[in-house]
């Protein structure tokens, strides 16, 4: 990458003044545990950037990339954001997670510059938590929870649900919020119990005992958790002989963790696109191949996709606005309503820079094999009050 930047910089110097590059700054984790989540989405974003550059650039200019390492550290993220300003970034792409992305996004906000979270799914990663120029291109966590509620009710006759929440991060709470909003609204459906655990609990035996002490096994268990706690919980739930359908959010997408519970069945999650080669949309599989060509491996989870989508949407807004200036591009982004992308339509408004409803692919794991089985869009968008946890 570095030589490429140097070459671009040299080109910029030798080229006429009006052909100055558009510079995108990536304040992402290149070390520490967040690196595993940021790198795939950043790679996807660069795939779209390469495509745009190959097609002649944006506003007639090439897009250049500068990067700074947050080191999976909040203070490091703020510093990375400021470093990118020094390097001339005109738009800021920040870490996947709200906590680690917000410090850099706030820096961009302070400079009236657009910031995009790579894949944050917390409503605060936008207007509500950063400011009016901040966006995320992923699908809100409560939408994922609500999608699971409605789908399981419609397609699997789920009536009695048990909610098991991991208190580790805000994302988990968002999944449960969406589920608990949607499920009781559905006909004949009720939440029969609720419990919490910590992601790094060595054992969740006490929580499982509580589930087993219900008279009847619940139809579904809404597990709101992320790795590694989610895999550990699933393994322990199945080991205790509980065979209920388990639902989770997109965070557990990917087959890399399935060895933790060999032969796992009746496990369902919503995704933005399938990495398993069975997505009905040709564009999705085309992207998977492009990703493999660039990195040598297919995406490990759906979290590469939002990176591609965000550059796509931002570039369209820039073309329409005719400038990269923050307020003008924001205005164009906010006009987008069901704007088509390779991974389904996307909308933004002046109230919400997130997806409060989305067409999601349903993936089910049967006998240890994940496969796309269905698609679902919730019947009503998740209201802002629910998103804000009120």
């Amino acid at each position: 990458m570095k030589p490429a930047i140097c070459v671009l910089a040299l080109l910029a110097l030798s080229a006429p003044a009006q052909a100055k590059d558009i510079t995108i700054g990536f304040a992402i984790a290149k070390s520490g545990w967040m690196e595993a989540y940021d790198t795939p989405a950043a790679t996807a974003a660069k795939i779209r950037i390469d495509e745009i550059n190959a097609a002649g650039g944006l506003l007639g200019r090439k897009i250049a990339v500068v990067e700074a390492d947050t080191r999976t550290d909040r203070a490091g993220a703020a510093k990375a954001g400021l470093d990118l300003l020094d390097q001339g970034a005109q738009m800021m792409i920040v870490s996947c997670d709200y906590d680690f992305g917000a410090p850099a996004a706030l820096v961009a906000e302070g400079e009236a510059m657009i910031s995009f979270f790579l894949c944050a799914e917390d409503v605060k990663a936008g207007i509500q938590g950063v400011g009016p120029l901040s966006f995320s291109s992923s699908v809100l966590a409560p939408v994922q929870g609500a999608t699971m509620a409605e789908w399981a009710h419609a397609r699997r006759e789920a009536r009695a649900a048990y909610v098991l929440e991991d208190t580790f991060i805000e994302y988990n709470k968002g999944i449960c919020t969406g589920f608990e909003w949607m499920f009781p609204q559905l006909e004949g459906a009720a939440i029969v119990g609720r419990d919490s655990f910590k992601n790094d609990d060595a054992s969740i035996a006490a929580q499982i005992t509580r589930i087993k002490s219900l008279g009847d096994e619940p139809d579904v268990i809404m597990l709101c958790s992320v790795m590694p706690g989610a895999a550990a919980a699933v393994r322990q739930i199945r080991a205790a002989g509980i065979d209920s359908l388990i639902l989770n959010g997109s965070a557990v997408d990917g087959s890399y963790w399935l060895d933790a519970t060999p032969g796992l069945s009746d496990f369902v999650l919503p995704v933005q696109g399938s990495i398993h080669g069975d997505d009905p949309r040709a564009e999705v599989e085309a992207f998977n191949r492009a990703y493999e060509a660039k990195t040598g491996a297919r995406p490990a989870s759906q979290y590469a996709y939002p990176g591609y989508v965000l550059i796509d949407l931002w570039a369209k807004a820039v073309e329409r606005a005719g400038t990269v200036e923050g307020a003008a591009v924001t205005a164009e982004l906010e006009k987008m309503s069901d704007e088509p992308t390779a991974f389904g339509p996307r909308s933004f408004s002046s109230e919400l820079h997130h997806q409060n409803t989305a067409l999601m692919q349903i993936v089910e794991i049967s006998d240890g094999k994940p496969a796309r089985i269905d698609e679902w869009r919730i019947s009503q968008p998740v209201p802002l009050d629910v998103l804000m946890g009120k």
Binding site: G32, A206, K212, D259
Partner: protein
């Protein structure tokens, strides 16, 4: 319900007890609060798989047949701890307990970051003995085979260790060294031998915790071991520093308290479970500063 709860408390408390024992052994012989113990656990977990940043893990030592695998992981844990002692703690033998503690923390950071570089930050699935994932009926309770096995293994290890400490020469020397290390040396007990022995044992115990954790959760994560280390550390103090039996008892007690709080706290209060747990710890310390299980005549050390 109640019998089930006993099993839950035992399986969690058993893990804490073994981890606490690993910390108490080292504290006893060299006044070191070993904050790297959590990373000894994490390293032992990762030794099961091959170093690679790929999302899907390939088994390393984990591919061995069970008896060999257990022996290899225990040896790995012991070897890691002994190496840490020789390279880091032996040169610091005469440093203050604070300096030792900070050094152990630095060692922990070192190991954690080496794991991050070698394996990447994404948690990995480790399928160790999947056939254990089925429930069995014990009296009125339906218990995962895994849980039974954990309880059985903990009981077996504690019994074996107790026997070793009671009967074997090195066990006698370790117990004496844990009580009064300088006195033991004045009677000809070799410091290096006992300390290396304690580290080897402690590392092997960390490997046991690693195996139990992996069979229980099926995942390997760079950050795992940290939370257990903290609880074990507190158990060591609550049990009475230098008392190995106390560490085990307090580890079991903390596990049981945690399971009971989880079972009986109202749903809104459950996320605050650990705050209640640590509040209990402070109360216990206020009423028994020398620890719950220290003998009455024991003088405070440090």
């Amino acid at each position: 319900m109640s019998l089930q709860l006993v099993f839950d408390a035992l399986s969690l408390g058993g893990i804490y007890a073994i981890a606490a024992l690993g910390i108490a052994l080292i504290f006893g012989v060299m006044n070191l609060v070993n904050f790297a113990h959590g990373q000894f656990i994490a390293c032992s977990v990762f030794a099961l798989i091959l170093p690679s940043a790929d999302a899907v893990a390939t088994m390393g030592l984990g591919a061995l047949p069970a008896p060999l695998l257990i022996a290899a992981i225990l040896a790995f844990g012991a070897g890691l701890a002994v190496a840490a002692e020789a390279l880091v703690f032996r040169p610091l033998r005469n440093a203050s307990p604070v300096a030792l503690m900070v050094a152990s923390f630095a060692l922990g950071i070192l190991l954690q970051n080496i794991l991050l570089v070698a394996y990447g930050g994404r948690p990995k699935a480790v399928s160790l003995w999947p056939q254990l994932g089925s429930p069995v009926q014990v009296l009125s309770a339906q218990v995962p085979l895994l849980q039974l096995l954990v309880i059985g293994a903990v009981a077996l290890i504690l019994a074996g260790l107790a026997l070793m400490l009671k009967r074997a020469r090195v066990g006698l020397e370790m117990r004496a060294a844990a009580e009064d290390f300088d006195m033991a040396r004045m009677l000809g007990v070799r410091a290096n031998g006992v300390i290396s022995g304690a580290f080897a044992l402690s590392g092997a115990l960390a490997a046991v915790v690693a195996l139990v954790l992996v069979t229980q959760t099926g995942v390997a994560d760079v950050r795992m071991g940290g939370q257990i280390m903290l609880v074990a550390f507190i158990a060591t103090v609550v049990g009475g520093m230098g008392s190995l039996a106390g560490a085990v008892a307090a580890g079991l007690a903390l596990g049981a308290a945690s399971a009971l709080l989880q079972a009986f706290l109202p749903v809104e209060a459950r996320p605050f479970r650990d705050a209640f747990l640590y509040g209990l710890v402070i109360l216990v310390l206020l009423f028994r500063p020398q620890g719950l299980f220290a003998s009455v005549g024991a003088k405070p050390r440090v």
